[in-house]
Amino acid sequence: MMRATRRLSAAALVMFVLAVLAVDMATSAPPDPFQAPPVLALGSGQASGGAHCSALPGD
């Protein structure tokens, strides 16, 4: 029997990413590009959001 190639797993990966984006669109408020922060955080005067794996809630 002929074995499948990585094209199959790449196609499955694209489906996975599309599924993540679809779930996100169904559960989140749509982004508003007119309310977006400045391109660079550095020099913006705005604090970082802090959504990072090293952040401990409450700190």
Partner: protein, 374 residues
């Protein structure tokens, strides 16, 4: 048709295909910029940069650690230390002078943190993919990476959800190396580790290949760009846990009521699009960059491996453990090791030591699970 035309046609068609790949990547970044905002399009582009560098230069974290442990070849780990040092030289002073705008990957050392890093090190050797490595492997069509990725995301969600309980077991005060003194301490510690690796190295393995130098410099550039654009260092696992949290919300779970997810920063992320989330965007970019390189090289024509069932069970369990443990450890090889050390966090060093010890254990599990010959 002449012979010349016959030989140039495949080359021309390959060039068109490759131009199309670059065009698609740029289009996606511009689309995100138009749909969500310029910062977010730029972050996706930085993610593509990470992915192209890691896959294109065959640069990673799990593989070089394996090479050091099994064959005493330190080149890859030395290149990682070079990249971290390059980031530290700019990031540590920048964090001090722009404390209102930028944050480092600073976290406390604790029992769960050290244990999590140990488990992560073991699991990343089982699947031969760390945080960034799993994304790159999945993007390049590697089925082990593809299967590990969703379970990594699920594990990350549960690890984040249980994080506060785990940290209550015992956590030391946060220690951050800041300013000029902090930079000197960080560079001296990196140099000491490099010297130890060179001392332990097998003869003839003490030089870093040109490819790894280039990769280290490019990674440092993209990591600094990530910090300047996002205001926070490069990370991976937060975004993966967020993807699962959104899936749980879609299934009707009241995720926002859970203590971790009700914290202001996390609650805001839960309600906003992942196209405005820093680590989600760079993760998507890493996947896209690796896919681009794999397609460019024709790597998707490779046959899928014929692995035994126990190998796939091992991959699934390792994926879950990678996600869960990296949340307890306040990051993976990227968020804790690379970004933690380069922004002056002591937890990055504790992570390095514990994950390296875990890697030695994980390498022994691979033959047992049928992932390689005994």
């Amino acid at each position: 048709m002449s012979d010349q035309t016959l030989s140039t046609t495949p080359r021309a068609s390959r060039a068109v295909g490759r131009a199309a790949l670059i065009g698609v990547a740029l289009f996606l970044c511009l689309a995100v910029a138009a749909f969500a905002g310029a910062r977010y399009g730029l972050l996706l582009m930085i993610g593509f940069g990470f992915g192209i560098t890691l896959e294109g230069m065959r640069f990673g974290f799990a593989g070089p650690w394996r090479a050091m442990i099994q064959r005493r070849e330190p080149a890859g780990v030395l290149a990682q230390l070079v990249a971290i040092a390059l980031v530290a030289v700019i990031a540590i002073p920048l964090l001090q002078s722009n404390a209102d705008e930028l944050i480092g990957a600073i976290a406390p050392v604790g029992w769960a943190m050290v244990g999590g890093a140990f488990v992560f090190g073991a699991a990343m050797q089982v699947v031969l993919g760390c945080g960034s490595g799993t994304l790159v492997n999945a993007g390049s069509g590697n089925p082990v990476g593809l299967v590990a990725l969703p379970f990594f995301a699920i594990g990350s969600f549960f690890g984040a959800t249980h994080l506060l309980w785990w940290t209550s077991l015992g956590t030391a005060p946060v220690v951050a190396f800041t300013g000029t003194t902090g930079l000197i301490v960080t560079l001296a510690a990196l140099a000491a580790v490099a010297a130890l690796l060179l001392f332990l190295a097998a003869p003839g393995t003490r030089t870093i290949p040109r490819r790894m130098w280039i990769a280290a410099v490019l990674l440092a550039i993209f990591a600094l760009a990530n910090l300047a654009v996002a205001g926070q260092p490069w990370g991976v696992v937060y975004g993966l846990g967020l993807w699962t949290a959104k899936g749980a919300v879609a299934l009707g779970t009241d995720v926002a009521a859970l203590p971790f997810w009700s914290a202001p920063a996390n609650s805001e992320r839960l309600g906003a699009s992942i196209l405005t989330d820093v680590t989600s965007l760079t993760n998507l970019g890493i996947i896209g960059g690796a896919l681009l390189v794999a397609t460019w090289r024709g790597g998707l024509a490779q046959k899928l491996p014929d692995l035994p069932a126990r190998a796939w069970v091992g991959v699934i369990i390792s994926g879950l453990l990678l996600g869960y443990s990296s949340r307890l450890a306040f990051g993976c090889n990227v968020g804790a090791f690379f970004s933690g050390i380069s922004t002056g966090s002591l937890h990055g060093w504790a992570w390095f030591a514990a994950a390296f010890a875990g890697s030695a254990v994980g390498l022994r599990l691979r033959p047992v699970l049928g992932l390689e010959a005994k």
